[in-house]
């Protein structure tokens, strides 16, 4: 069964450092998303991406965040200068069409120290 894969599963970084979280969406999917879940809190939408551009972003997704689809398979989330409050589980998701079931990856746990 096709699945969304995320790497790494856990990343520890120092405050102020740049991190790149990687995702391989399901191959025939066209819509890609990043969500995050701060420990003990709800899952929050960060950004959606379609046709090689951002289609929507939340107020969390400020100038420190960027997304890219560098090739035909990867979808990355970059945080330029990490803060302590960026510590969270980051989930990548993809869907075949916009208003359809989104498939989630296993997540990357980002710890900023």
């Amino acid at each position: 069964e096709p699945e969304v894969t995320q790497t790494p599963s856990h990343q520890v970084t120092q405050m102020g450092q740049e991190v790149i979280l990687r995702c391989v969406p399901i191959s025939n999917h066209l819509y890609f998303y990043w969500y995050r879940q701060i420990l003990g809190q709800k899952v929050e939408f960060l950004v959606s991406f379609y046709n090689n551009e951002i289609s929507e972003k939340s107020e969390i997704f400020d100038d420190q965040f960027s997304v890219e689809r560098p090739d035909g398979s990867n979808f990355t989330l970059k945080i330029r200068s990490t803060k302590l409050e960026d510590s969270a589980m980051y989930f990548c998701a993809s869907s075949e069409v916009g208003l359809a079931e989104a498939f989630f990856g296993q997540g990357t746990r980002l710890t900023v120290v």
Partner: protein
């Protein structure tokens, strides 16, 4: 304003007892509705979804949910729970306003006791 509410943060229940996890939403547009389950230290797995058609939807492991448009609810039920159902359950809504994002509820931790 569009929102998703799960009023119960934790629901303890004994094994083989029935359970209902509540989900309400607020919206001025049509919606798609989802329940996701998160087992400890794992990602989000889709449990069931309502897109259209029959308002009662079922999962392969015995859960069901019913879309009630008048009450703007999508409660999750199971007639007899197992220890293995212990997990966090998230209700999520996609609002048909040209945005494709999911809005999640705050989650309900189902704790099944022997």
């Amino acid at each position: 304003a569009q929102s998703v509410t799960q009023l119960d943060s934790q629901v303890p229940v004994f094994e083989e007892a029935p359970v209902e996890l509540r989900c309400n939403y607020s919206s001025s547009v049509s919606v798609y509705l989802f329940w996701y389950v998160q087992y400890p230290n794992q990602g989000l797995q889709l449990l069931l979804k309502y897109l259209s058609g029959s308002t009662l939807v079922e999962s392969i492991n015995g859960f069901e949910a019913e879309f009630n448009k008048s009450q703007t609810s999508f409660h999750l039920r199971k007639p007899s729970v197992h220890i293995s159902d212990t997990a966090e359950y998230f209700c999520a809504v996609s609002f048909m306003d040209s945005s494709y994002k999911l809005i999640f509820g705050s989650g309900t931790r189902l704790l099944v006791r022997p």
